[in-house]
Symmetry: C2
Subunit: 410 residues, 2 copies
């Protein structure tokens, strides 16, 4: 008998009928003999509705109270799912973050889980019940309700799996698993059977929406095998697991993109020690995450300093940079919000030379100009004009991942 944590996302519990379907699925797994802890998100659209309510009340609602508000979304779902399970003859009980002490820090809206008290869940499982836990929420040391940020239910599920020493964690979603690329723009994209935590981390942080980054970090740290699969079919999905030797044979596991990028360039800044700190310190203080940074020193002792930020932070970041530009001695500030990032990810890049070069050549052959480049051990990202995103993803996918054949490195 295994202990499995299952997580169902907002689309999977989008209305009463879908919740009933989830209950049927859970009841079948339970009948097959597994102990089950089920983590659910808010019904699709509900979190947005609540955010809009808070925003209607005040454009800058205080974060503590917003978390009190948002956490009701998952509370509604756990109650409805527990009702559906009990109605289906499958004894179940719901728990909220504070009831199973999903202890977090006090960073409202983006709290991090510190610990989970497994006692109460263990007791309920011991009574033969399915335990339904509200995702996305926790409590801080003063019993204030916190939330974990968008996609936080994934992290709730993985953290519960780790705390309970579960045999696995199944992430149910509306797609069939992790794909080599976005099937909406890349018709040759195919489902991956297995992928390493490291690759999944890169894919998630590069724009793949299938898993919250932090949930993958958690899974990696506590070695929780993740199974990403569809709520609406019985097919196997994608296993996210520890690296295996054979994985290095695949040069590239995925091609991903992110349209949420805006570019800012400080033009011809006198190059001096501490320049980067003076530029990025105030931006970090404003809680803006800078993504890619490129600095090119010229012969004349000046440099062009270019970086990207999420589009939503662009105006704030620009205001900060402009306020600094004169003092830094820059000749000007250039911006471009019409850019996007395309990346390739793969463990094989560590041991095979020439992957990045092949990427650049492929893009050049398609007539796509590269504006910025950034590399890490297992990924290469480029910033290009936004209009070329679909084309870039398709040619890179064809070059590295081929057509419709099963996984095969080029």
């Amino acid at each position: 008998m295994s202990l499995i944590v299952q997580k169902y996302g907002g689309t999977s519990v989008g209305d009463v009928d879908r919740i009933r379907n989830v209950a049927a699925r859970v009841a079948r797994c339970r009948a097959a003999g597994d102990d089950l802890v089920v983590v659910v998100s808010a019904m699709a659209g509900e979190t947005n509705r609540l955010v809009a309510l808070a925003h209607q009340m005040h454009s800058e609602a205080d974060e503590r109270e917003k978390d009190v508000l948002l956490s009701t979304g998952e509370q509604v779902t756990v109650a409805l799912l527990a009702i559906a399970l009990n109605a289906a003859g499958c004894p179940a009980v719901s728990f909220l973050g504070h009831q199973v002490r999903i202890a977090t820090d006090s960073a409202f809206g983006k709290a991090r889980i510190k610990s989970i008290d497994a006692t109460r869940i263990g007791a309920a499982l011991g009574d033969g019940r399915v335990v339904v836990v509200a995702g996305f929420q926790g409590v801080d040391g003063d019993d204030n309700i916190t939330t974990l940020g968008r996609g936080g239910s994934d992290t709730s599920a993985v953290a519960l799996a780790a705390a309970l020493h579960a045999d696995g964690c199944e992430i149910y979603t509306d797609v069939e698993g992790v794909f080599t690329s976005d099937p909406r723009i890349c018709p040759n994209a195919r489902k991956l059977d297995r992928i390493s935590y490291e690759e999944m981390l890169e894919l998630a942080s590069l724009g793949a929406k299938v898993l919250q980054i932090r949930s993958v970090e958690f899974a990696k740290r506590y070695r929780v095998p993740l199974h990403v699969r569809s709520t609406f079919s019985e097919a196997e999905g994608t296993w996210v697991v520890e690296e295996e030797a054979s994985m290095e044979d695949v040069l590239v596991s995925g091609v991903t993109y992110d349209r949420d990028e805006a570019k800012i360039t400080l033009v011809r800044v006198p190059d001096q020690p501490g320049l980067a700190a003076r530029v990025f310190g105030p931006i970090a203080d404003a809680n803006i995450s800078v993504d890619m940074i490129i600095q090119n020193a010229s012969a004349e002792g000046t440099t062009d300093l270019t970086f990207t930020v999420p589009k939503g932070d662009f105006r704030n970041a620009l205001a900060i940079v402009q306020a600094n530009a004169r003092e830094l001695g820059a000749a000007g500030v250039r911006t471009d919000t019409d850019v996007a990032k395309v990346s390739i990810v793969g463990l094989g890049m560590r041991s095979h030379a020439g992957v990045a070069a092949k990427m650049f050549r492929t893009l050049a052959e398609a007539g796509i100009n590269i504006e910025m480049i950034s590399t890490s051990e297992i990924k290469t990202s480029v910033v290009i004009a936004a209009k070329y995103v679909e084309l870039a993803v398709r040619v890179l996918h064809d070059a590295f991942l081929g057509g419709r054949q099963p996984a095969e490195a080029s």
Copy 2:
């Protein structure tokens, strides 16, 4: 400086604008120097929406999970009100039932408050904040969420006022106070300035919807002065307070009615010891509250036993009685669902004879037949045909409470 508990009902917080109005009102009171604890209900319609969701999921949703679901209604309101108050520059913090340990028994859906831990509220007040508390909800000894039943937020407010030794408890609603009768059917009805707990208890249990019965019991027990008043005006409402000598001068304080009555008669039952217990035992076991009971022994050793139940319980009660009727030797069972109860309430009835007689005479003069009579120390109720309700209320109001003059006993 006083400590005041204010409670705002669902209509008062029915949408974002109304919540903003409540925030403005609270902020004014706070600026005037009072310490404030504000209890709120769910936004109007929200509890019904949630009940419907539970019902859609299953016709007999388990009570524990239903409470998890329903308690989100108040959680949304406290968050929004705290956001509105903070936005208005009035520092505020929201608390849920479990955060201030509104400890109840485990009777889900109709829990009773056992204690409240005032520590956290006291600390927040000490910090100069307005404390916003979710009404209607508590936690049992195992940290399960409980709800107090319809109108439970009144009880939350009074219990908080008692626990905090508040100087008063203001119940804000969409009417201007407690009226001598229902203004919708009795144009001469007028607002009462003061009324005793005892009278208010009778009025509430006889169908006046302005306060939950249990909240009045709580207020009486802990001597919390209640001020029932309108959210939408600054006018004084009705004070519900301890009995004062002058109150006895008023024979009748209110005329009330209840259409939610159905009548069942066991015809010509052999009169024997234990008959009532054998009839009403099984009905109580089915959790049906019997209201009025009348038994008239005839000369022939048989009796007609008549009682009333809420219309919603009529079919169940009838089935139980019919199952028993043969065994009890009854000649038959008669029913009437087309009845209503009209009552007069007043402390003066204790010391003045003839009040009931005047009531019967007044109804007779209006041609209204009385089907059942029930009396207590400070009220007299009659059951009449439903079609006469409005007429009965008006003639009784005219007879005891007169026209538009200020309160005056007839």
